[in-house]
């Protein structure tokens, strides 16, 4: 059974900024983007929110929605949850404490890094491996883009995905439990999560395997970074140690590549970068990978250090976090000293419901009809030139052929076919040009000096 819930998406295209260059169309790992009537269209059922399109867009026309910061005023306790990679954004000159204080200065009452208390996640991972001996490897649920990729393209692996929530959910529950112990009403506490990427926003807005998220608002990392930098010189000397009580070596490095694996005794493997992840899953599906207990897959190169909403160089972020990690105790050592008992109540809160596959059926779910369509698409491919130029608005000739049999495109969308038809006198040059303008927008082919490499690069 596949679930029918609608995917929420965080990526938005600004039609005014877009120059219709097809970079995004060609880079999308799930072929989710098309040019339709002069506009870039992201097909929801295919998009996994990996953010690759945003990365390659030369005109910054793709952005990520976020919540309004003023809504923090609705809560008495304004809790900011930052991923540890956020600390890595700042110049080394600013100490960790200064960074925490700058965030308090912005109006938050509490600031926590999300990757704590990490021992709960470690325990759940170990247990999952132990209890799933017949269906290994267990696949990490950490990166929401990867989870979605598996659900649509590798549905058979869906049941191997860990049914455990993301660190930001876990830490929010942990903090909320502590508030409750002090007699604070949960309604007075607002949680605001700073996201390094589009995928994590989507995971908050339409969480997989739970009804609603405990997070009340999402703030983009680059946005908050600019705000923090504007006040960082003016911070008050507040004690921020209480926010870092459960920070550990493992936690600080959790979102980096190997973060979920380096401390394990089980046989693990870590793969980062969405194209690498796809290649690996393909191999696994072919039966060419075996013997692993745990698989960590992350959509970004260098995992969250390479998140699309971070501006600092990813290698420098990794370096800073590694340096920081040295100064913090190992989670296991901490547990020996302080015990794990105080966290056991968190375990049930960290587990999600079943994650359902949502296979992407290119030609519909009826095998008989799909076979017919596929045959037609393959015949069409004999006629298309195989240049994969994307001038038709689809990423490849094959994708155009698929769109055609699904009634979403026409043979005349191919500019080379058009040219051929003109040559054979089947269509007038005027008519052919009109078609192009329809696809790419009116005046698209008029001279325009605002583009990379032209006179005006100031967009």
């Amino acid at each position: 059974m596949s679930s029918n819930e609608k995917f929420h998406h965080a990526l938005v295209v600004d039609d005014n900024k877009c120059i219709r260059c097809t970079h995004c169309i060609k880079t999308c790992p799930t072929e989710a983007i098309r040019m339709v009537n002069g506009k870039v269209e992201i097909r929801e059922e295919r998009c996994v929110d990996c953010g690759q399109c945003m990365r390659v867009c030369p005109h910054k026309a793709i952005s990520i929605e976020q919540d309004d910061l003023v809504q923090i005023e609705n809560y008495r306790f304004k809790v900011l949850l930052i991923p540890s990679v956020f600390i890595g954004q700042f110049p080394y000159a600013y100490t960790e404490d200064q960074i925490y204080r700058s965030l308090l200065k912005l109006g938050f009452t509490h600031v926590y890094e999300v990757e704590q208390p990490i021992e709960v996640l470690k325990t759940l991972i170990r247990r999952e491996i132990r209890e799933n001996k017949s269906n290994l490897p267990v696949i990490s649920s950490f990166c929401p883009a990867v989870v979605r990729l598996i659900r649509i393209k590798y549905p058979a692996f869906t049941e191997q995905i860990m049914r455990v929530k993301a660190p930001h959910d876990l830490v929010a529950h942990y903090i909320l439990e502590n508030f409750k112990k002090q007699g604070v009403s949960p309604d007075d506490v607002g949680f605001f999560y700073v996201t390094p990427c589009a995928a994590k926003i989507t995971a908050v807005k339409s969480p997989i395997g739970e009804e609603v998220s405990i997070i009340n608002g999402v703030i983009n990392s680059n946005h908050l970074y600019n705000k923090a930098m504007s006040v960082i010189e003016k911070v008050d000397e507040l004690d921020v140690e209480p926010f870092k009580k459960e920070l550990t070596k493992e936690g600080i490095q959790w979102s980096l590549t190997h973060g979920e694996t380096w401390w394990q005794r089980a046989k693990t493997i870590s793969v980062d970068g969405i194209h690498n992840a796809i290649r690996f899953l393909e191999r696994m599906e072919n039966g060419q990978v075996s013997g692993f207990d745990f698989l960590e897959l992350r959509a970004c190169d260098r995992s969250c250090a390479g998140g699309v909403l971070l501006s600092q160089n990813r290698f420098l972020v990794v370096e800073r976090l590694k340096m920081r990690a040295r100064l913090y105790p190992a989670s296991s050592v901490k547990m020996e000293a302080e015990g794990y008992g105080r966290f056991s109540g968190l375990e049930p809160l960290a587990v999600t419901d079943e994650i359902k596959p949502r296979p992407l059926m290119l030609y519909g779910s009826d095998t008989f009809k799909a076979l017919e369509k596929m045959e037609r698409a393959r015949n069409i491919m004999c006629h298309l030139p195989g240049i994969d130029c994307a001038a038709c608005g689809a990423p490849t000739c094959r994708a155009l052929a698929e769109d055609m049999v699904n009634g979403l495109a026409k043979m005349s969308d191919c500019i080379f076919i058009q040219q051929q038809w003109q040559n054979q006198g089947k269509v007038s040059p005027q008519k052919a040009f009109q078609k192009m303008e329809k696809k790419w927008g009116e005046n698209r082919f008029d001279p325009d000096c605002t583009k990379k490499g032209a006179k005006d690069e100031s967009f």
Binding site: N286, G287, P359, L362, Y363, D366, T367, A370, L371, M374
Partner: protein, 140 residues
């Protein structure tokens, strides 16, 4: 009916498995039961590797019908002198070089038989081998 065709180069282990992987992608798009896909792909993979490991060159033709998948693997190669023996688990004439690459357990043909509904072998020593496998898509 969808027809697919692949040329296979003998001795090139680098590319071995490429055709089966491609067929897997196609079958997935047709919403065929993943369990059946797995069996078809395993059988085809073994056949593909056999051409690479034991023959000089060959080709694979796959036909997908609404109710079944047919795979025809044809090669130019030494042929199989004793088919009955070759079908036995553990029987292998694989060279040392092939064994070093992790093949040659003598499990390929038995696996093909196990994972398909029909397996027909026509072979002529010194000329080559043709293998026809059929898997029915009847829903279990």
């Amino acid at each position: 009916m969808v027809k697919l065709r692949y040329e296979i180069e003998g001795g090139n282990f680098d590319l071995a498995g490429g055709a089966s992987s491609q067929v897997k992608k196609v079958l997935k798009q047709l919403n065929i039961d993943p369990v059946l896909i797995k069996k078809i792909v395993v059988a085809m993979y073994e056949g593909e590797v056999n051409i690479v490991a034991h023959a000089y060159k060959g080709q694979i033709e796959v036909q997908i019908f609404p109710d079944r998948v047919e795979m025809k693997l044809t090669d130019e190669g030494p042929g199989i002198p004793d088919v009955e023996a070759a079908m036995k688990e553990g029987f292998s004439t694989a060279s040392q070089r092939v064994r070093e690459m992790g093949f040659g357990a003598g499990m390929g043909l038995p696996n093909m038989k196990k994972n398909t509904d029909e397996l027909r072998i026509e072979t002529e020593v010194g000329k080559g081998t043709t293998l026809i496998m059929t898997k029915y898509l009847a829903y279990e």
